[in-house]
């Protein structure tokens, strides 16, 4: 009887650890095998090596001399650069637009509020591929050549919504009385905004910006349709590598990306935890 009870109470934790193994094992696998020197079958462990990392950063090594895999590191660097440019510009634009809309809807009275709410909700319920093809049709029929610029526009269209939702949530938690007090004490609306509203919504704005940055860096579906031949981003580049056939350097690239996104995520989640 005791044993049965023990068994019953430990089933859930055991399952829980399996669950986390399922979530994390595939990611760990990439990290571990990015140090495997076997150039023929990357899933058979041969020896520990940094060669694939060296290849990415442009150094040649014994393993890569014999089997040069990466077409050219230039393409990889260009993709990384494009991704960063897109993510930075998009984050700036989407954060400003999203915050502006959130403020307008929360603090002003006007007629078309339901329209704006629906507009902000749309990217959330629309499969990505639809926005991708709609933008492709639009750019081609208007005659705008596909480039980094079109990717930035595409990302802004849906990331405004993400910023809007995060900032709106923050404003909803805010005490409106403080703004009224500021106005009563004689501050004009700009001073009130600068000194009261903005500092209070700042955590929401930063959170929204961080989210926009991460999603922009990672977006594949929409970018895939509106990236020109010379304007691939990192996810599109890796997707292309996956389709052409898998080579050991992808492990190393993926591990570096993993590290990068984990740092950003930890910073973001740490900030949120501190706020609460």
């Amino acid at each position: 009887m005791k044993i049965r009870k023990l068994l019953r109470s430990s089933i859930l934790p055991i399952y829980g650890y399996f669950f986390f193994a399922f979530v994390y094992a595939p990611i760990l696998l990439i990290v571990v095998f990015s140090f495997n020197s076997n150039p023929v079958n990357m899933m058979i462990w041969e020896d520990f090596t940094f060669d694939w990392y060296k290849t990415i950063f442009g150094f040649t090594s014994a393993a890569t001399e014999s089997a040069l895999y990466l077409d050219s590191t230039d393409q990889l660097y260009a993709a990384v650069k494009n991704s960063l440019v897109v993510a930075l510009v998009t984050t700036a634009v989407a954060t400003v637009f999203g915050t502006a809309l959130a403020l307008a809807i929360a603090r002003f009275r006007f007629r078309f509020k339901p329209f704006y709410r629906a507009l902000m909700f749309m990217p959330m319920i629309m499969p990505d591929i639809l926005l991708g093809i709609a933008l492709l049709i639009f750019f081609v029929s208007v005659g705008i050549e596909l480039s980094v610029f079109t990717i930035i526009i595409g990302h802004c269209t849906f990331l405004v919504s993400y910023v809007f939702i995060v900032v709106s949530a923050r404003i909803a938690d805010m005490d409106e009385a403080l703004e009224e007090a500021s106005a009563d004490l004689g501050a004009n609306s700009w001073v009130t905004f600068r000194r009261v509203t903005l500092p209070m919504i700042m955590p929401g704005v930063v959170g929204g910006a961080l989210l926009a940055f991460i999603i922009s860096m990672d977006d594949l579906v929409i970018t895939y349709f509106i990236a020109g031949v010379d304007s691939q981003t990192l996810p599109v580049f890796i997707y292309g590598m996956l389709r052409r056939g898998i080579k050991p350097e992808i492990n190393a690239i993926a591990t570096i990306m993993l590290l990068f996104s984990l740092i950003i995520a930890s910073v973001g989640l740490y900030m949120r935890a501190r706020k609460a």
Binding site: F19, F108, I125, I264, A265
Partner: protein, 307 residues
């Protein structure tokens, strides 16, 4: 009076300043493209790509049953692909639900500190690049991959199994990448579950199954439905997962759309296929909203009765 007017005017001006830039931007680059896509889905495809500006209902006809009778007979191949996508998306929803539910239950019963740590662990993969997470499954499932190597090493199999480029691989991949989407809404509703209700039900002699069906399931239903919708939407139109893990063998509606745009160059037909996906999503959301309002009415009615 004058002062009031200027303050009103200034208020209007700030509102305009906040609204106008994003409105213009989204009007041009979001609403217009979507509207053009809707129009495109009713236009005749040009012979070598492009469109002819004639009304043409055969884009939808080819999908749903009335084809261009001059050249072709109706072939339900597109409908089959659409239905397969629905099936794979539903399987993904079900699998992620079954995987996440017990885990969410487990975490919701933890002390606060540990709970936060595990919730952090759940959200973390969401920040890891989608391609990277999919790539991991290519490494695991392909013939020379981790799973086959491991199974051959311990002598379970002699020949590598054909795991990648199957429906199962696609479902596993989609489930894996959408797990955080399912987990968080589920967790939110499971955490609200009052354990004293469960205990009361057991004290009153209900079996575990009865308690689950009568108490636990109804309380956590909003989370189940919410998570299912959030997983279903990106699964249905997905083309990345099937193209990486399904190859040429598993075609979903997303792949078909991609083909129409990037290789077949039949944009009107591709747009019509896209509209089909959108219609399916809208239908689902309508059912959801209907269900939720009915539930609300039901619960308010119950409260009125009580008082």
């Amino acid at each position: 009076m004058v002062g009031r007017d200027t303050s009103q005017g200034r208020k209007m001006l700030s509102l305009l300043g906040l609204l106008a830039p994003p409105t213009v931007f989204l009007g041009v680059f979001f609403i217009t493209p979507l509207a053009i896509m809707v129009i495109y889905s009713f236009l005749e495809p040009g012979l070598y790509g492009g469109v002819v500006w004639n009304f043409y209902d055969l884009n939808y006809g080819r999908i749903l049953g009335w084809a261009d009778t001059r050249y072709e007979k109706f072939d339900p191949v597109y409908l089959t692909i659409f239905l397969r996508s629905v099936r794979l998306a539903l399987t993904t929803v079900l699998l992620s639900l079954v995987i996440c539910y017990p885990a969410a239950f487990w975490i919701s019963r933890m002390p606060q500190g540990r709970k936060n740590f595990f919730l952090f662990l759940i959200t973390l993969p969401f920040f890891v690049s989608l391609v990277v997470r999919l790539f991991a499954w290519v490494l695991i499932l392909r013939p020379t991959g981790f799973l086959n190597q491991a199974l051959m090493e311990i002598g379970m199999i002699a020949e590598p199994l054909n795991l990648i480029f199957t429906d199962t691989a696609v479902v596993i991949g989609m489930t894996y990448v959408f797990i955080p989407f399912m987990f968080l809404p589920l967790y939110a509703s499971i955490e609200k579950l009052d354990m004293s209700l469960v205990e009361a039900s057991a004290d009153l002699g209900a079996t575990r199954l009865q308690t689950f069906r009568r108490i636990i399931l109804p309380v956590t239903l909003p989370g189940i439905v919410g998570g299912s919708i959030i997983v279903f939407i990106p699964s249905l139109g997905n083309f990345i997962v099937p193209s990486v893990l399904g190859g040429a063998k598993v075609m979903m509606i997303g792949n078909l759309i991609e083909q129409q745009f990037l290789s077949a160059r039949n944009w009107p037909f591709g747009s019509a296929l896209g509209m089909m996906v959108m219609a399916a999503v809208l239908l689902l959301l309508m059912i959801y909203v209907r269900m939720m309002t009915r539930e609300e009415e039901y619960s308010t009615a119950a409260k009125v009765k009580e008082s």
